[in-house]
Amino acid sequence: MSLAFTQAPARRWRVPGTTGQIALALGLAAFLLAFLLVPVGSVIYVAFTEKGSGSFTLINFADFFRTDLFMRSFWNSAYVSAMTVVLASLFALPLAYITTRFEFRGALIIQTLGFVPLIMPPFVGAVAMQLLFGRNGSVNLLLNEYFGFRIPFMEGLNGVIFVQAIHYFPFILINLSAALRNIDRSMEEAAQNLGSSGMRMFRRIVLPLAMPGYVAGASLVFVKVFDDLATPLLLNVKDMLAPQAYLRVTSIGLTDPMGYVIAVVLIVVSVLAMWVSALALRGRDYATTQRGGGGLAKRTMRPWEQVVAYGVVGLILALVLAPHLGLLLLSFATIWSFSPLPDGFTVAHYARVFGESSVYIKNTLIYASIAGLIDVVVGTAIAYLVLRTKLIGRHWLDWAATAALAVPGVVLGIGYLRTFYDIRLPDGTPLATMWIVLVIALAIRRLPYALRACYAALQQISVSLEEAAENLGATKPRTVRRIVVPLMMGGILAGFVTSFATAAVELSATLMLVQSNADAPLAYGLYVFMQSAAGRGPGAALGVIAVVLVAACTLLSQYIIDRNQKTTGAAR
């Protein structure tokens, strides 16, 4: 990624961009080609081949539409994704609004805690949730004992919606909060001067201006849920698309085109959803020119408002953090089986993982931070090219990067082995066994998150600020460095945090690419523990360590965002 910004000379040909921009675009294209398109292509081309002859055909897609199971899965996936966006919005809107619009004690903590559900370690998280909300989880056991009924939180499609909304609503929260912080106070003041206030001002001024952030979050939730296989599989719901692709690719369908046909369908729908969300924002200008007070004015609440606000926030947090509470209990539990609470408590599990987890922790931090860094650099660059230049085919960069969201981790993992295994390092070991390949896989998988955040941030910055800088003699690279990136900082950090946190608990690509224990991240350690009855406690302990670790890093970056905004605000 050492793409130098060559000085763009003033001469303008018919080419719609500076040489620097073209070089950047080509560099990005090469990166995506090498680490996404070629590896994935090496696996999914099977979707377009005819059985027996291997020649090109679309018959497999016809089969897809002729098969009841796949069509049922398709509609189920669409329904679940849409409903999850609705439910996740219900969780995220109050949290984002209350913490950014009002003087609210503990806003920073809430922003961080509200983010924690995204860090759900694989396997243990599922066990913890079953123990709380499952058919014989704590809640239902108590309900059944005292009231004689159960609530099917975790059954069927509605169960998937419930769990997905809890898991992914932070995408909306984090992007919406970043957008709300980015709205200039002068807009609000202008509205107040014109006599608007309260809900009306929120509806007509604040919410519309924050729309890019909300849409970025909501579209991410939609696509992520559409492509997610972990949650449906944990609830043993199989008639959804992503699980169908996964189940086929990992079993009898390995050589059959159908698994890859589904992967192609997933990719097409994901890109389509992103395109529609871009369409929804098109033709409107979300940028504000003035950069005055650094975010919205924070109002103090009246006492009764405080009660309501704290009540709402407390309720939402209790619900979305319940799985983590379950995880914490599980990590201290001796035996927990068919009872509301564990039989006893112990710290032995932590003692067991303490010695061996340090290598996992170190690897996770290194891998996830490098992956996050790659993501925000690439994400910012793509967002800039798409929104600020007229280069031909710039949207393809965006779409290609977004498609990564829909590529099952297993497919990417196999693709990497195929593409990079035969490239030998000087000492004869294959390139694919280097841990850096795993990092790049993580970065590619999380790139869409960072990209959406950077994209939304840039949408809110008026191009006139850059024009002003250029009129004053700044070169394009200098403008980007001194004006664009600093103003996007909130969004970039939001992107980094999302990529970092989710990469830290990523499993599927990891499992295919990890070559030895010494190079393994936390998620792999968890997987290893969670294959046996005795490993459940230590696995939960490791899960808690992962969550605390990632949450601490998140808190740190939230703190930096806040401090940055205060200092930039004060400096003016």
């Binding site: 050492s2 793409l3 130098a4 099977v46 081949t49 059985k51 291997g54 497999n60 199971l69 066990v127 079953q130 123990l131 014989n136 043993n236 199989k238 008639d239 699980p243 189940l247 990992t250 079993s251 009898i252 390995l254 050589t255 059959d256 159908m258 001796t334 035996i335 927990w336 089986s337 068919f338 009872s339 290194i366 490098i370 860094l373 790659i374 925000v376 650099v377 660059a381 295994y421 035969d422 030998r424 000492d427 070991t429 294959p430 841990w435 850096i436 980007v480 460095r481 990136v485 499992l511 295919m512 070559q515 030895s516 010494a518 523990f529 294959q531 046996s532 009855a533 005795a534 459940r536």
Partner: protein, 441 residues
């Protein structure tokens, strides 16, 4: 900003890249395994103690991913051993020439356990522990819901078990596949499918990995699970309130280890195999967190009381003869049938089964021969299979599942046919049961 960040990333990469690579040293052996840490850690410790200077590096992958991994990395293998339960995975590796021949030095290991040969006759892989299949249940769950304790597969089809049973999909779990195949071989194709589908009507869930079932039973989310024995024994060993039974139609199958072809550390790999089969290695299997059945009969002398011994226990003598070749031929067909007729039609199948249980309950109080006949027809419709035993292992059906080499029916086409066969049959059965219900009232 962008440039400096990129630079920083590049620098970070360069400095870290050096560290893990420095680990490569001579006294090492790498094993790809599906076994959990609780199994590998004690064995690793014992092996390293017995062979000072050699360190065992464990790579965990599930069986399918492990096979795939060895296949993708065959041009330059970095691993020395493959170590997993399912014998069919080793058959696949052997047929792809991914394993190498070896003659272990261990003595005192018989040729067969039950009816199953312990080692590959051609010397490509070796059984090191035996496992049987059966039913485990959570005693608290069963107690709280006042449910019975099962003895045979058929018991699980009875009304009280409705919505209380879990199984892993045979397509994803090598061990469940063997369970299903055992029932099919033990009871015959048609009767076997009837048994399986009668049970399946009572399933609460079908998980996508083997350990999902014992996990659900351990935590009390489901009552009963169809599992391989050590899942239950190790759960008991860790203190979970679970019990286990071997039904009469079951089989004991060895878990295996094999040396990868062109392994970088072949000599150390051979040492590991020899250690695993030696009395010292076999004794590690008795640890509470592992609890597998050693293949060396002498080791059972050191086992705790009540430990199942397949070499002396008469139950294991009567167990089914297992035909590996037959099973290997129709693996994909059996697994796909299970998924298309059961996994993906579970809601329909359960709803018919539930109504059958209700009607049968009423018939017990007040008999009605006409209604009984209708129920019998409904059960036959549920149990029907779209292919015969001969067709299941015929070349044309198998070809659909073998990948893109020959022309012929596509997997998706056949699946759709089977799925609609099941859907129609369940709907017809539902209508018969409704008729019977009207008569029984």
């Amino acid at each position: 900003m962008i440039r400096s960040a990129a630079l920083a990333a590049t620098l970070a990469l360069a400095s870290f890249a050096a560290a893990p690579a420095a680990l490569a040293q001579s006294g090492k052996v790498t094993v790809v395994t599906s076994f959990s840490k609780d199994v590998t850690d004690p064995i690793k410790a014992a092996f390293e103690k017995a062979n000072p200077g050699i360190s065992l590096d464990v790579q965990n992958r599930n069986t399918n991913a492990g096979v795939k991994y060895l296949d993708e990395t065959r041009s330059n293998p970095q691993t020395d051993l493959f170590w997993a339960s399912a014998p069919d995975a080793f058959e696949v590796l052997k047929s792809k020439q991914l394993l190498q021949k070896f003659t272990p030095t261990a003595e005192g290991i018989p040729d067969k356990i039950g009816a199953y040969p312990i080692n590959d006759p051609d010397g490509y892989y070796f059984g090191f522990a035996a496992s049987g299949y059966g039913i485990m249940w959570n005693t608290r769950y069963v107690g709280a819901n006042e449910l019975p304790e099962p003895k045979e597969w058929n018991d699980l089809a009875a009304a009280p078990y409705y919505d209380h049973v879990a199984i892993a999909s045979p397509a994803r779990s090598g061990t469940t596949h063997l369970t299903i195949e055992t029932i099919l071989q033990g009871e015959g194709w048609d009767k076997g499918w009837q048994t399986i589908k009668d049970m399946a009507g009572n399933f609460q869930t079908i998980t996508d990995r083997s350990f999902g079932v014992p996990e659900a039973v351990n935590s009390g989310q489901v009552g009963y699970g169809i599992v391989i024995d050590f899942f239950a024994f190790s759960a008991q060993g860790s203190g979970f309130p679970v019990k286990f039974v071997y039904p009469t139609v079951t089989t004991v199958v060895p878990a295996n280890v094999g040396i990868v072809a062109n392994a970088p550390n072949t000599e150390n790999a051979q040492k590991f195999v020899n250690f695993l089969l030696s009395p010292a290695g076999q004794e590690v299997l008795l640890e509470p967190s592992i609890r597998r059945l050693p293949v060396n009969p002498a080791v059972y002398a050191k086992a705790p009381e009540g430990y199942p011994n397949p070499f002396t226990d008469p139950r294991f003598k009567s167990m089914t003869m297992f035909d590996v070749e037959k099973s290997g031929k129709r693996t994909a067909v059996v697994d796909t049938l299970f998924d298309q007729l059961i996994s993906f039609q579970l809601d329909d199948l359960k709803s018919v089964t539930k109504s059958i249980h209700e009607v049968e309950g009423k018939l017990k109080a007040k008999d009605n021969p006409q209604a009984r006949a209708l129920i019998k027809e409904a059960r036959a419709l549920i149990g029907a299979v779209p292919v015969t035993e001969e067709q299941a292992s015929s070349a044309e059906v198998r070809a659909a599942f073998s990948g893109g080499k020959e022309k012929g029916a596509r997997q998706a086409e056949i699946e759709q046919q089977w799925a609609s066969f099941a859907k129609d049959n369940y709907a017809k059965a539902k209508a018969k049961v409704a008729e019977a219900a009207a008569l029984a009232n």
